[in-house]
Amino acid sequence: MDPAFISPFIESVQNVFSTMLQLPVVVGEPRLKTDPKASYDITGIIGLSGDVSGAVALSFPRTTAERIVAIFCGMEISADHADFPDAVGELVNMISGGAKANFPNRNVSISCPSVIIGEGHRVMNQSETPAAILPFETDCGVMAVEIAVRDNAKKVAA
């Protein structure tokens, strides 16, 4: 995957978490995703289309997600509560929106988010689109952003 699409996500995660949650995040070493299993139990997914297409997933262990959502919403909300997916969806929405704005000369649209809650769920991507995992650490626990995107503009130019 083109590294030009990795940095915008790191910057966007840091921006969203510092602005909305006042929570510093530390990024780990990005790696290729080789297992379709999601990184953790709770995953917010958003689709990208246009010059860059694919999907972005924000994945947390349940306890991390509940702590982060509590800060974001200003109240504790269990992962089983109806409002919980909305909060996770809005986080992945802001991360994806902020990242795509910094893709180099690419016009990209994002979908409305979906949220999956459950241990061992799998996030399948198109086979020809490699996925990268960006691990993050916060005071609320670990999380990961999984990015599987294809640069359609580059393909057309070639």
């Binding site: 200003g74 909305d86 929405n93 802001m94 704005a101 409305c112």
Partner: protein, 122 residues
């Protein structure tokens, strides 16, 4: 002042309501997408509309265009993750008066509201 909040995320509506409440605005109506907003805006008669861009059923840009067909005056602020310059221009052309990019701090939202209402009153 009556404010209509249009956002498909209940979390984001609650965050904005909290900021508005701090500013002393409590007469707030909520809509979960553009269609819902169009169905409520006539009866509610807002003095200010805060509208998201990406929403199901009817997005914020379509709502702004439709609303501006019959109302040129009520100020509207787009509150969205869409931060590219081309999107901001598109929204301004459609009829929004100001623009707030998510994520935002309470200070930024309150500053944009103050600017927008001052311009509308001038």
């Amino acid at each position: 002042m009556k404010i209509l909040l249009v956002d498909d995320s209940k979390t984001m509506r609650n965050i904005q309501k909290s900021v508005l409440s701090e500013l002393g605005y409590t007469d707030i109506e909520e809509a979960c997408d553009g269609q819902d907003a169009l169905s409520k805006v006539g009866a509610f008669g807002p003095d200010l509309i805060l509208v998201d861009w990406n929403m199901p059923n009817m997005d914020g840009l379509t709502f702004v265009k439709k609303y501006r067909e019959s109302n040129k005056l009520t100020p509207m602020i787009m509150v969205t993750t869409e931060s590219e310059k081309i999107r901001v221009i598109e929204a301004i052309k459609a009829g929004v008066n100001n623009y707030v990019v998510k994520p935002f701090t309470p200070d930024v939202l309150s500053q944009r509201i103050a600017e927008t209402m001052q311009k509308a009153a001038a």
